[in-house]
């Protein structure tokens, strides 16, 4: 089964927080400015639980972990009936001081003990209704009981990790990403071109769906940008088999046959001396190979989710699409897509052109207390999709 190895990435979850990390022996990561070593994750299984002990995440049994993080469901015996006796004058409720808590923490006192101290030193706890006692305890648990769970990365978990950092991925919500992948009809063997500014999240999804098929995956990026604008691909720890057919090429040079010509002529004559220049040369050669290959390939799918102007990208790339191929463009605003739509209508040779957005609502399901969550995302962005046909 899947276990973690040195160098692997893992997704750590703790309550409702999600963090992507890389496991490296003897090298710490930082969570809330605290140094944490992940050495003990090595050889552990997907979904294992870990407790923070003296700067190390240490494996703990599933049952023990579950007991610790179990949310409270208190019987109402020791509880007040309603809020009539509860007054919050802001000061005297809690007599355990912040400094004292920090002191306890540094002495290695367990989270449970801190919570029971907080309860016993709370002037109002007894008077709260059962429901608010429960709420209070769950809130404290979130703060003081730090049980982590380590997962093998998946596209779902990457989406989860970015939910609090949506600006980094152009606010692409998971349901919109899911829809985008369906509409682009990516599958084993597809030739795909991707122009994205979403940290490589879309590229990673495509690589996974193509699963090392015979098709080519072209990641078109502006040349000026740093090489590694696709951290998500690193997070997924893809095998070589999956990435041999992935080419990152400078989008500006697409369609410019002279570039390749010129580049080939400008080949340096002297042999490279050190490792670094050798690698740089290899990367350069790979880009050129990719460009050359791109000119010869008929694409089955084109995906655009870029911070650059979508219309000009579409105009430049549309002729590379094969008959009955698919295109999908994501944009946070509908205006950009309307421009693309007008261009497509004028050009012809495309059908089933749609603009759509989606709505995702999460629910709390509890006995007698079922309702939608109070907060939801109100912006999913829009997708323009369609197919290329003979005109």
């Amino acid at each position: 089964m899947s276990t973690f190895k040195d160098g692997d990435h893992a997704v750590l979850t703790c309550h409702d927080r999600t963090k992507i990390v890389q496991i490296r022996k003897g090298r710490p990561i930082f969570i809330d400015k605290n140094k944490i070593f992940l050495d003990h994750l090595i050889d552990q299984r997907d979904g294992s639980y870990f407790e923070l002990k003296d700067k190390y995440l240490c494996n703990i049994g599933t049952n023990q972990a579950k007991k610790l993080i179990q949310t409270e469901d208190i019987s109402s015996d020791n509880a007040g009936q309603d809020n009539r006796d509860l007054c919050d004058d802001g000061s005297v409720n809690q007599t355990l001081q912040h400094e004292e808590i920090e002191q306890l923490k540094s002495e290695g006192v367990s989270g449970q003990l801190i919570i029971s101290q907080l309860v016993s030193k709370s002037a109002t706890f007894e008077k709260k209704t059962a429901f608010s006692q429960q709420k209070y305890l769950n809130k404290k648990k979130k703060k003081y009981i730090l049980i982590y769970r380590a997962w093998k990365p998946s596209i779902r978990l990457l989406c989860q990790a970015y939910t609090h950092d949506l600006q980094k991925i152009l606010y692409l919500r998971r349901d919109t990403l899911a829809m985008l992948l369906s509409l682009s009809n990516i599958n084993h063997g597809s030739n795909v071109a991707i122009v994205e500014s979403c940290q490589g999240l879309i590229l990673a999804s495509v690589i996974q769906r193509c699963a090392g098929g015979n098709g080519f995956i072209f990641n078109l990026t502006p040349a000026g940008e740093k090489n590694s604008t696709s951290p998500c691909c690193d997070f997924m720890d893809f095998s070589n088999e999956y990435t041999t057919n992935v080419y990152t090429i400078p989008i500006e040079n697409v369609g410019d046959l002279n570039t390749i010509e010129r580049a080939n002529q400008a080949k340096p004559i002297e042999k490279p001396t050190n490792e670094k220049t050798l690698q740089a040369l290899e990367r350069r050669q790979r880009r050129l190979d990719g460009l050359q290959l791109f000119e010869k390939t008929k694409l089955n799918s084109l995906i655009i989710a870029s911070k650059y102007d979508s219309l000009s990208i579409l105009q430049h790339l549309i002729d590379y699409l094969a008959l009955s191929s698919h295109f999908v463009i994501y944009s946070q605003t509908v205006q950009n897509l309307l421009e693309c739509y007008q261009f497509l209508k004028k050009r012809g040779g495309n059908i089933h052109v749609e603009i759509a957005d989606s709505w995702l609502r999460e629910y709390q399901i509890l006995d007698e207390r079922t309702h939608p969550f109070i907060r939801m995302s109100g912006a999913s962005g829009y997708l323009l999709s369609g197919m290329i046909v003979q005109s």
Partner: protein, 321 residues
């Protein structure tokens, strides 16, 4: 898979938006469309995506891909649509190599998308207790060249379970009482961890499912609802009100500048005045052109009426060792 239409190929004819027909290419046959007769012989040998001329128009010939199939398939049951389907695939982590269990097969709408995402080395086991539906689905997978990725079984999963044990990465249930299948689900899911999704139209069903999931130590339980809005394209024409106040203002300006003009005989300022005059003439021209005062912009508008509910999706995870 070849990209050419052959004798026996399933073809989706695209007649227009939301107007799709499914046919099987057979030499010498003729199919009647609203654009007149379509000769099957005109299809055979053509590339998918080609324009096919009929007697009174044309259609496009497309291959069976999951999105189009979901729109064109013969309905034998209620089916799932792309918004739910896509989210299910993502949340169940279905990827090449996945082993997936589905019940019931229904019309096979979801199955086609699952198969696309688990190819080339995964497998779908799909169960249906209605024998005819089960057979029809099997035939369709065969016709679509998908047989090697799917096993269709005629079976009541509530009474008889999923036959296998400890093999599945993910289970999907779309049947009236999914909570009664939970024990079977636990058996078929990989002990090292697996995911479950249930689809139910009613909140009471969700409530019972969640209760049962908690009782059986499922984790990461969450319920969502997802709707997709397809927008309509429309040119919006907006006429402008001509405010008399604005007109008066313009007239006053006009009069003022007209008055000043004769005084302007100072040579030094000549150049400046001519440019001014030009500007003024330009602005006059625009005010005179104004009577047509409507603006047209292309807009996208949400549908006036749309499906407001499909069902609730409940996801959960369980690790049993």
């Amino acid at each position: 898979m070849t990209n050419l239409i052959q004798e026996g190929s399933k073809v989706i004819l695209y007649l227009g938006y939301n107007n799709l027909h499914v046919i099987k290419a057979k030499a010498n046959e003729v199919y009647q469309t609203k654009f007149g007769a379509l000769k099957h012989n005109d299809l055979i040998g053509k590339e998918f995506g080609s324009k096919i001329i009929c007697t009174k128009g044309y259609v496009h010939a497309l291959s069976v891909i999951p999105e189009l199939w979901t729109l064109a398939l013969p309905h034998r049951t209620q089916i799932l649509y792309m918004a739910d389907i896509s989210l299910i695939l993502l949340e169940l982590d279905i990827k090449p190599g996945s082993i997936v269990i589905e019940a019931g097969t229904g019309s096979g709408s979801l199955s086609h998308s699952i198969i696309r995402s688990l190819r080339p080395n995964g497998h779908l086991y799909t169960f249906e207790f209605h024998e005819l539906r089960s057979n029809l689905a099997r035939n369709e997978f065969e016709e679509h060249g998908l047989s090697q990725f799917v096993t269709v079984q005629h079976r009541d999963v509530l009474s008889n379970g999923f036959e296998h044990e400890n093999i599945a990465d993910a289970v999907f249930l779309d049947l009236p009482a999914p909570w009664n299948a939970i024990e079977h689900v636990m058996k078929v899911l990989k002990k090292t961890g697996g995911r479950l999704c249930t689809f139910s139209p009613c909140i009471e069903q969700v409530q019972r499912t969640c209760q049962r999931l908690h009782m059986n130590n499922f984790e990461e339980i969450n319920t969502v609802e997802c709707l997709r809005r397809i927008h309509e394209f429309r040119y919006q024409h907006r006429s402008k009100i001509r405010f008399t106040a604005d007109q008066n203002q313009e007239e006053i300006i006009d009069r003022k500048s007209n008055k000043r003009e004769p005084d302007d005989d100072d040579g030094d300022e000549e150049e400046e005045t001519t440019t001014n005059k030009k500007l003024k003439n330009d602005s006059e021209a625009t005010t005179k052109r104004q009577p047509q005062e409507t603006e047209s912009t292309l807009t996208a508008i949400g549908p006036l009426v749309m499906p407001g509910h499909t069902g609730y999706l409940t996801f959960a995870y369980i690790k049993q060792e």
